[in-house]
Protein backbone atom coordinates (compact mmCIF):
# COMPACT_ATOMS: atom_id res chain seq x y z
CA UNK A 1 0.00 0.00 0.00
CA UNK A 2 1.01 3.62 -0.38
CA UNK A 3 0.85 6.28 2.33
CA UNK A 4 -2.63 7.51 1.34
CA UNK A 5 -3.86 3.92 1.24
CA UNK A 6 -2.59 3.23 4.73
CA UNK A 7 -4.44 6.24 6.11
CA UNK A 8 -7.63 5.21 4.30
CA UNK A 9 -7.28 1.64 5.58
CA UNK A 10 -6.93 2.78 9.18
CA UNK A 11 -9.88 5.16 9.04
CA UNK A 12 -12.04 2.60 7.26
CA UNK A 13 -11.21 -0.02 9.88
CA UNK A 14 -12.14 2.23 12.81
CA UNK A 15 -15.37 3.49 11.26
CA UNK A 16 -16.53 0.05 10.16
CA UNK A 17 -15.94 -1.51 13.58
CA UNK A 18 -17.79 1.26 15.45
CA UNK A 19 -20.72 1.20 13.02
CA UNK A 20 -21.04 -2.58 13.28
CA UNK A 21 -20.83 -2.41 17.08
CA UNK A 22 -23.66 0.14 17.25
CA UNK A 23 -25.77 -1.79 14.75
CA UNK A 24 -25.16 -5.06 16.63
CA UNK A 25 -26.12 -3.53 19.98
CA UNK A 26 -29.30 -1.96 18.67
CA UNK A 27 -30.53 -5.09 16.88
CA UNK A 28 -29.61 -7.29 19.86
CA UNK A 29 -31.37 -4.99 22.33
CA UNK A 30 -34.55 -4.67 20.27
CA UNK A 31 -34.84 -8.38 19.53
CA UNK A 32 -33.79 -9.19 23.10
CA UNK A 33 -31.10 -11.67 22.12
CA UNK A 34 -27.55 -11.38 23.40
CA UNK A 35 -26.44 -14.09 20.95
CA UNK A 36 -27.74 -12.09 17.99
CA UNK A 37 -25.67 -9.09 19.06
CA UNK A 38 -22.56 -11.29 19.21
CA UNK A 39 -23.19 -12.83 15.79
CA UNK A 40 -23.81 -9.49 14.07
CA UNK A 41 -20.66 -8.04 15.62
CA UNK A 42 -18.57 -11.10 14.70
CA UNK A 43 -19.82 -10.83 11.12
CA UNK A 44 -18.86 -7.17 11.13
CA UNK A 45 -15.35 -7.94 12.38
CA UNK A 46 -14.86 -10.56 9.64
CA UNK A 47 -16.09 -8.12 6.99
CA UNK A 48 -13.71 -5.44 8.28
CA UNK A 49 -10.81 -7.92 8.19
CA UNK A 50 -11.58 -8.78 4.57
CA UNK A 51 -11.84 -5.11 3.58
CA UNK A 52 -8.89 -3.50 5.31
CA UNK A 53 -6.15 -6.09 5.80
CA UNK A 54 -5.43 -7.47 2.31
CA UNK A 55 -3.52 -5.25 -0.13
CA UNK A 56 -6.39 -4.24 -2.41
CA UNK A 57 -5.65 -2.12 -5.53
CA UNK A 58 -7.79 0.82 -4.37
CA UNK A 59 -5.32 1.33 -1.52
CA UNK A 60 -2.56 1.96 -4.07
CA UNK A 61 -4.01 4.89 -6.06
CA UNK A 62 -1.16 7.27 -5.14
CA UNK A 63 1.87 5.06 -5.69
CA UNK A 64 5.25 6.13 -4.40
CA UNK A 65 7.57 7.81 -6.92
CA UNK A 66 10.90 6.05 -6.94
CA UNK A 67 13.97 7.78 -8.51
CA UNK A 68 14.40 7.64 -12.34
CA UNK A 69 17.14 5.26 -13.56
CA UNK A 70 19.14 8.19 -15.18
CA UNK A 71 19.71 9.72 -11.72
CA UNK A 72 21.07 6.37 -10.47
CA UNK A 73 23.64 6.11 -13.32
CA UNK A 74 25.20 9.48 -12.46
CA UNK A 75 26.37 8.05 -9.13
CA UNK A 76 27.84 4.59 -9.90
CA UNK A 77 28.55 2.07 -7.18
CA UNK A 78 32.32 1.78 -6.35
CA UNK A 79 34.08 -1.27 -7.99
CA UNK A 80 36.00 -3.85 -5.89
CA UNK A 81 39.79 -3.84 -7.05
CA UNK A 82 41.56 -7.19 -7.98
CA UNK A 83 44.66 -6.83 -5.61
CA UNK A 84 44.17 -10.30 -4.00
CA UNK A 85 45.86 -12.29 -6.90
CA UNK A 86 49.08 -10.02 -6.88
CA UNK A 87 49.76 -10.74 -3.20
CA UNK A 88 49.69 -14.54 -3.77
CA UNK A 89 52.47 -14.54 -6.48
CA UNK A 90 54.84 -12.39 -4.31
CA UNK A 91 54.78 -14.86 -1.40
CA UNK A 92 55.75 -17.79 -3.71
Amino acid sequence: MDWQGQKVAEQLMQIMLVVFAIAAFITGYIVGSFELMMYVYAGGVVLTILTTIPNWPFFNRHPLKWLDPSEVEKHPKPQVTSSVSKKKTAKK
Binding site: E10, M13, Y29, M37, T52, I53
Partner: protein, 167 residues
Protein backbone atom coordinates in the same frame (compact mmCIF):
# COMPACT_ATOMS: atom_id res chain seq x y z
CA UNK B 1 -0.29 0.22 8.86
CA UNK B 2 2.42 -0.85 6.51
CA UNK B 3 2.19 -4.64 6.78
CA UNK B 4 -0.44 -7.34 7.21
CA UNK B 5 0.64 -8.05 10.76
CA UNK B 6 0.50 -4.40 11.78
CA UNK B 7 -3.00 -3.90 10.39
CA UNK B 8 -4.26 -7.20 11.81
CA UNK B 9 -2.93 -6.31 15.26
CA UNK B 10 -4.51 -2.85 15.22
CA UNK B 11 -7.84 -4.20 14.00
CA UNK B 12 -8.11 -7.01 16.52
CA UNK B 13 -7.09 -4.83 19.47
CA UNK B 14 -9.67 -2.23 18.55
CA UNK B 15 -12.35 -4.87 17.95
CA UNK B 16 -11.84 -6.43 21.36
CA UNK B 17 -11.83 -3.05 23.14
CA UNK B 18 -15.14 -2.23 21.48
CA UNK B 19 -16.47 -5.65 22.50
CA UNK B 20 -15.64 -4.87 26.13
CA UNK B 21 -17.52 -1.55 25.85
CA UNK B 22 -20.53 -3.29 24.31
CA UNK B 23 -20.69 -5.77 27.17
CA UNK B 24 -20.43 -2.97 29.73
CA UNK B 25 -23.30 -1.08 28.09
CA UNK B 26 -25.36 -4.27 27.88
CA UNK B 27 -24.84 -4.80 31.59
CA UNK B 28 -25.83 -1.20 32.38
CA UNK B 29 -28.99 -1.55 30.30
CA UNK B 30 -30.22 -4.03 32.91
CA UNK B 31 -30.72 -1.17 35.36
CA UNK B 32 -33.60 0.13 33.27
CA UNK B 33 -35.83 -2.88 33.99
CA UNK B 34 -38.09 -2.89 37.05
CA UNK B 35 -38.89 -6.47 38.03
CA UNK B 36 -42.07 -7.48 39.88
CA UNK B 37 -41.65 -11.01 41.26
CA UNK B 38 -44.10 -12.77 43.53
CA UNK B 39 -44.10 -15.94 45.58
CA UNK B 40 -46.16 -17.99 48.01
CA UNK B 41 -45.11 -20.76 50.42
CA UNK B 42 -47.41 -23.12 52.25
CA UNK B 43 -46.28 -25.61 54.91
CA UNK B 44 -48.50 -28.64 54.43
CA UNK B 45 -47.22 -30.97 57.10
CA UNK B 46 -44.56 -31.30 59.77
CA UNK B 47 -43.27 -34.80 59.06
CA UNK B 48 -41.23 -35.12 62.24
CA UNK B 49 -39.77 -32.82 64.88
CA UNK B 50 -37.18 -34.16 67.26
CA UNK B 51 -34.21 -33.38 69.45
CA UNK B 52 -31.13 -35.07 68.05
CA UNK B 53 -28.81 -37.04 70.34
CA UNK B 54 -26.13 -34.34 70.01
CA UNK B 55 -28.54 -31.75 71.44
CA UNK B 56 -29.74 -29.91 68.32
CA UNK B 57 -33.36 -29.72 67.20
CA UNK B 58 -34.31 -30.97 63.76
CA UNK B 59 -37.55 -30.67 61.84
CA UNK B 60 -38.69 -32.07 58.49
CA UNK B 61 -41.64 -30.56 56.66
CA UNK B 62 -43.51 -30.84 53.38
CA UNK B 63 -44.23 -27.59 51.56
CA UNK B 64 -45.78 -26.11 48.45
CA UNK B 65 -43.52 -23.47 46.94
CA UNK B 66 -44.87 -21.35 44.10
CA UNK B 67 -43.31 -18.28 42.53
CA UNK B 68 -43.42 -16.09 39.44
CA UNK B 69 -39.92 -14.79 38.72
CA UNK B 70 -40.40 -14.19 35.00
CA UNK B 71 -39.97 -10.41 35.25
CA UNK B 72 -36.42 -10.90 36.53
CA UNK B 73 -35.22 -12.24 33.15
CA UNK B 74 -33.70 -9.72 30.71
CA UNK B 75 -31.74 -10.20 27.49
CA UNK B 76 -28.60 -10.23 29.61
CA UNK B 77 -29.69 -12.96 32.07
CA UNK B 78 -27.97 -16.30 32.00
CA UNK B 79 -29.80 -17.98 34.90
CA UNK B 80 -31.47 -17.24 38.22
CA UNK B 81 -30.44 -19.11 41.36
CA UNK B 82 -33.29 -19.23 43.86
CA UNK B 83 -33.37 -20.63 47.39
CA UNK B 84 -35.85 -20.73 50.24
CA UNK B 85 -34.57 -20.00 53.73
CA UNK B 86 -36.28 -20.27 57.09
CA UNK B 87 -35.34 -17.26 59.21
CA UNK B 88 -35.92 -16.95 62.93
CA UNK B 89 -34.52 -15.41 66.10
CA UNK B 90 -33.32 -17.32 69.17
CA UNK B 91 -31.97 -16.17 72.55
CA UNK B 92 -28.52 -17.29 71.32
CA UNK B 93 -28.51 -15.70 67.81
CA UNK B 94 -30.34 -12.62 66.61
CA UNK B 95 -30.73 -14.13 63.14
CA UNK B 96 -30.70 -17.74 62.03
CA UNK B 97 -31.06 -18.57 58.34
CA UNK B 98 -31.48 -22.18 57.29
CA UNK B 99 -31.66 -23.01 53.60
CA UNK B 100 -34.42 -25.52 52.95
CA UNK B 101 -34.56 -25.77 49.18
CA UNK B 102 -32.78 -24.32 46.14
CA UNK B 103 -32.93 -24.52 42.38
CA UNK B 104 -31.52 -23.05 39.21
CA UNK B 105 -33.88 -21.47 36.68
CA UNK B 106 -32.16 -21.49 33.27
CA UNK B 107 -34.76 -19.68 31.19
CA UNK B 108 -37.77 -17.39 31.43
CA UNK B 109 -40.20 -20.21 30.57
CA UNK B 110 -39.25 -22.09 33.74
CA UNK B 111 -39.46 -19.05 36.01
CA UNK B 112 -43.11 -19.52 36.90
CA UNK B 113 -43.20 -22.68 38.97
CA UNK B 114 -45.10 -24.63 41.61
CA UNK B 115 -43.45 -27.48 43.49
CA UNK B 116 -44.56 -29.81 46.22
CA UNK B 117 -41.54 -31.06 48.16
CA UNK B 118 -40.02 -31.92 51.49
CA UNK B 119 -37.08 -29.79 52.53
CA UNK B 120 -34.05 -30.58 50.38
CA UNK B 121 -31.62 -29.64 53.13
CA UNK B 122 -31.99 -30.45 56.80
CA UNK B 123 -33.58 -27.88 59.06
CA UNK B 124 -31.29 -28.14 62.11
CA UNK B 125 -30.99 -25.58 64.88
CA UNK B 126 -27.93 -24.62 66.92
CA UNK B 127 -29.32 -25.93 70.16
CA UNK B 128 -32.92 -26.78 71.01
CA UNK B 129 -34.79 -23.53 70.44
CA UNK B 130 -37.32 -24.60 67.86
CA UNK B 131 -40.33 -25.60 69.94
CA UNK B 132 -43.14 -23.11 69.37
CA UNK B 133 -40.79 -20.92 67.35
CA UNK B 134 -42.19 -18.29 64.93
CA UNK B 135 -40.26 -18.13 61.67
CA UNK B 136 -40.31 -16.40 58.28
CA UNK B 137 -39.93 -18.16 54.96
CA UNK B 138 -37.76 -15.95 52.77
CA UNK B 139 -37.34 -16.63 49.05
CA UNK B 140 -33.91 -15.32 47.96
CA UNK B 141 -32.72 -15.11 44.37
CA UNK B 142 -29.49 -14.27 42.60
CA UNK B 143 -29.80 -13.06 39.00
CA UNK B 144 -26.66 -14.16 37.15
CA UNK B 145 -26.03 -12.08 34.02
CA UNK B 146 -24.28 -13.03 30.80
CA UNK B 147 -21.94 -10.06 31.38
CA UNK B 148 -21.76 -7.73 34.34
CA UNK B 149 -22.71 -7.61 37.99
CA UNK B 150 -24.84 -10.22 39.73
CA UNK B 151 -27.56 -8.81 41.94
CA UNK B 152 -29.63 -10.48 44.63
CA UNK B 153 -32.97 -9.74 46.26
CA UNK B 154 -35.62 -11.50 48.35
CA UNK B 155 -39.28 -11.74 49.38
CA UNK B 156 -40.12 -12.29 53.05
CA UNK B 157 -43.21 -14.32 53.93
CA UNK B 158 -44.17 -14.23 57.58
CA UNK B 159 -46.56 -16.13 59.74
CA UNK B 160 -45.11 -19.61 60.19
CA UNK B 161 -44.79 -21.39 63.49
CA UNK B 162 -43.35 -24.71 64.63
CA UNK B 163 -45.27 -27.01 67.00
CA UNK B 164 -44.90 -26.62 70.76
CA UNK B 165 -43.71 -30.18 71.33
CA UNK B 166 -41.65 -32.82 69.59
CA UNK B 167 -43.40 -35.38 67.38
Amino acid sequence: MHSFGYRANALLSFAITILALMCAIASLSDNFTSPSPSSHVQVLNINWFRNKPDGDDEVSMTMNISADLQSLFTWNTKQVFVFLAAEYETPQNSLNQVSLWDGIIPAKEHAKFYIHTTNKYRFVDQGSNLRGRDFNMTLHWHVMPKTGKMFADKIVMTGFRLPQSYR
